[in-house]
């Protein structure tokens, strides 16, 4: 085929998806599966977006790999001791990158098999139904019926910290593990800062986390975050709450950081700084002003329940559409937007689980106790501490708790929070329970395999009624059972 002709004629397609992250490629694939002609635009060389390349997957790979250091060390008291580990960063990076290559390659293959045309390049909206793509070979225009905007977000880098010095990193650079700094300052005690803090701490860095708020992992109930905080306090050099970093400057091979903490002004030197203060939408340089798309005050694209923007031909999903910036939210939105385009009546009404891959993991879904209090929702809580779990004891991680928040009248499960090893896997049951409108009794009545951590969900449900087998909960008001 004539390459020139290819670039001269605009491509006509039913759906164009801009951005090939977990939202974008899911949307493209689903639309193709439903018989639509789909073009997928990605500005990166590889597909998969932040999730596969600079987020979820590489961070989990690093967390797993570095956790072995901790495991080996902790094994000694169980009578199996290992020698000090030898860390080969080059090899670690290579292994991590090989995973990314497998996954992104997989996404490309899947696109090909579905007949999704992938065009590498930067998309720019010329109008409501016309996209210009800047490719390596030149411009390509695409005329489409509907577009799905899935361009994601990027780590926020406040101007005051943006020294142009590679020692001040965002998660993107930190995931490359350029070296193991002796001292690492993590600015921001959210999930990204905490997860990467654990990676670097395991590798041997002295990690200091500073958080402007009163708590780390502010979105989670603090009773659930407690085991994470306890372990972080042991693992990190220090956690500073209500601390504010005011200034950073380059000081030779180090970064000089000025902060206010505990009423004091501190100036300290760090080998590296990780700025993890949130993520901002990738809304710039997209030509959105040529469409009817409206942005909110933080720059996220406004959408309705079906993720349709103010432009009747453009949908927006994933991080760019705001809300909780999680890949699985993007994935669900992809489904909804595609269904809406195909004439369906889908709408977003799902429970979104949140998982923090710290050590131990922290996961929750539905209503949190904090939210219930804020909104004045009546609720009752039942908890099961992992110290009473045989499974937790058998792998030496009793630092966990499983918590159920339920409606006092109907006993319907409103929210579940789990902290402990593998909490990210355990939360799935809770999400299903909430989606199905299960009551606490439904969970209590369901047999959970022994010995597994899933039993903690059942026992928390039992505890709700005051008769968990492995803990004793005396209910003040409850009379003796007849």
């Amino acid at each position: 085929m004539g390459e020139i002709k290819f670039f001269m004629d605009p491509i006509k397609t039913e759906i164009v998806v801009v951005g090939a992250g977990p939202g974008g490629y899911a949307a493209a694939f689903y639309a193709a599966d439903l018989g639509k002609k789909v073009v997928l635009i990605e500005r990166d060389k590889v597909l998969g977006g932040v999730c596969l390349n600079r987020g979820c997957i590489p961070s989990k790979a690093l967390l797993y790999a570095t956790h072995q250091i901790v495991n080996a060390r902790e094994s000694a008291h169980r009578g199996i001791a290992f020698a000090e580990p030898k860390v080969e960063l080059e090899k670690l990076r290579h292994w991590k990158n090989s995973i990314l290559a497998k996954l992104t390659g997989g996404v490309s293959t899947l696109a090909k098999m579905r007949g999704v045309q992938v065009i590498p390049g930067r998309g720019y909206f010329e109008g409501s139904q016309k996209l210009r793509v800047e490719t390596d070979q030149g411009q390509q225009f695409i005329e489409y019926d509907k577009a799905i905007l899935a361009v994601g977000s990027l780590p926020a880098m406040p101007k005051a910290f943006d020294l142009g010095n590679p020692r001040v990193m965002t998660s993107t650079e930190a995931l490359e593990v350029p070296d193991v700094p002796e001292s690492l300052l993590v600015v921001g005690g959210g999930y990204i800062g905490m997860e990467l803090g654990f990676v670097y701490a395991a590798l041997g860095s002295k990690v200091v986390v500073v958080e402007a708020l009163e708590n780390i992992l502010a979105g989670a109930d603090q009773d659930l975050a407690r085991p994470v905080v306890a372990n972080a306090k042991k693992t990190f050099k220090e956690i500073r709450l209500k601390a504010k970093v005011s200034k950073m400057t380059t000081a030779g091979n180090q970064i000089k950081v000025a902060m206010e903490y505990n009423g004091q002004k501190l100036e300290e030197l760090y080998d590296r700084v990780l700025v993890a203060v949130g993520r901002v939408p990738n809304g710039a340089d997209l030509g959105l002003e040529n469409t009817k798309i409206q942005l909110d005050e933080r720059g996220f694209v406004k959408t309705n329940e079906q993720r349709l923007t103010d432009d009747p031909n453009i949908y927006a999903i994933g991080d760019i559409a705001g809300g909780i910036l999680l890949a699985h939210k993007a994935h669900k939105e992809a489904r909804i937007a595609v269904e809406a385009i195909c004439g369906g009546k889908a709408g977003f009404d799902s429970v979104i689980p949140a998982v923090v891959f710290t050590d131990p993991e922290l996961a929750w879904c539905g209503l949190t106790e904090t939210e219930a209090k804020e909104k004045g929702v009546p609720y009752e809580v039942a908890k099961f501490p992992w110290t009473a779990s045989g499974r937790a004891l058998s792998f030496d991680r009793t630092d966990g708790v499983t918590k159920i928040i339920a409606d006092p009248d109907t006993n319907r499960v409103l929210g579940v929070g789990i902290c402990g090893a593998g909490a990210g896997e355990l939360i799935a049951e809770a999400v299903l329970a909430i989606e199905m409108g299960a009551t606490v009794e439904d969970i209590a009545e369901t047999i959970h395999a022994h010995p597994t951590l899933s039993e903690t969900v059942m026992e928390a449900a039992d505890a709700f009624y005051g008769h968990a087998t492995h803990i004793f909960t005396r209910k003040k008001e409850e009379p003796a059972k007849a």
Binding site: G344, K345, A346, G347, D349, S350, E380, D407, P408, D409, T410, N411, R412, E435, M436, G437, A438, T439, V440, E441, D442, A444, F464, Y465, G466, K475, E477, E478, P479
Partner: protein, 426 residues
Amino acid sequence: MDVKLPKLGEGADSGVVVNIFVKEGDTVANGQPIIELENEKAVASIPSTAAGKVEKIFVKNGDRISIGQRLIAVAGEGQPAAASAPAPKAAATKKPAKPAQEPEAEEVEEDAPEEEGEVVNPSPVASPSIRRMARELEIDLRQIRGSEAGGRIVIADVRNYIKRLMAAAARAGRGKGAAPAKSAAEQINFAQWGPVVKRPLTPLREVISRRMLESWTSVVRVTQFDEADCSRLNELRKQFGAAYEAKGAKLTLTPLILKAVAITLKKYPIFNASLDEVANEIVVKEYFHLGIAVDTDQGLMVPVIRDVDRKSILDLARELEQLAAKARDRKISAEEMKGGTFTISNQGAIGGGHFTPVVNKPEVAILGLGRGAMKPVVRGDKIEARMMTPLALSYDHRVIDGGSAARFMVDLVAALQEFKEGDVKI
């Protein structure tokens, strides 16, 4: 505690309040009638389900109310006994033990049907598949009460809701069916030609109108005419009238006709059938429940006498009298007007000759009788004066053929003319 409108019987889920027997401040006993409700073809009095002082009345005359709706609030001795056992609240609400949840479940059942469009469940709980279905069908789950634990809406709840919507749509559709004609024809101001009196359609008249239209538009009606010599029946009636009176029953021609019809129906079961238009089946009923059209001040009612073939003339005479009285007093229940397999409309008491009765759907045939009159009849080679009664058998030609109708009529006439004395004798 609130007294709510209980279930009224199958298919009847609402009615119009026509009478309120209590006022605020009154003391009511459990079971005491508190309101009168007109619905379909009956007026029923609704008893209180609690005893005590009437604190508040939530309904007024003319209100259309449906099952589960609050009627009155009662305070005092009426409180359920359970309250005397002071169970701690937490324990009571959190008891997983099934027994504790039973009363709750009953309550849910009681007030199940909702008015369409009404939010009864502000924060509905349903599985993702149910929510998806609701979206696709554009059903607002907030209008559905969940029947499962924790108020969860399951497929059965949605199904019931859809059924109700369909029933409501059908009701509305019937109204609309007539609407184009109505809107096409301008509303006529009859008062321009002279004084008029306007009356709203009563619920009963609405039902009659709807059912007649339904029959008229779907049944292929043919009417077969004949005359029966009822001289003998009349003699039998005179002969045994006194004996029946002694037993407190009035022997009219109708129980005799009922019997003769039942005998003929047994010979021609197709007249005792219904057409199931959904399953495309003819359903032949092996019971013989005969409807009797009763003329009342409010309009036509059709109480049903069950198992006519198995009852004595005396029983039929008694039952007939009771049902007719109940219908005229509008004390008859909807149940007592259901399940008929064939209808008899006897205008003999009023007068008139042949007429063309409308088949009472889902039945397939109806017998209309006019006033018996003495007529000259050739018997053998003599002309005799005989009491001749006009008979008109309307039937649904979709189900019954003309030949069958003629045969039915011949046998019915024979059954009337040759009525067994033994059947009447007591």
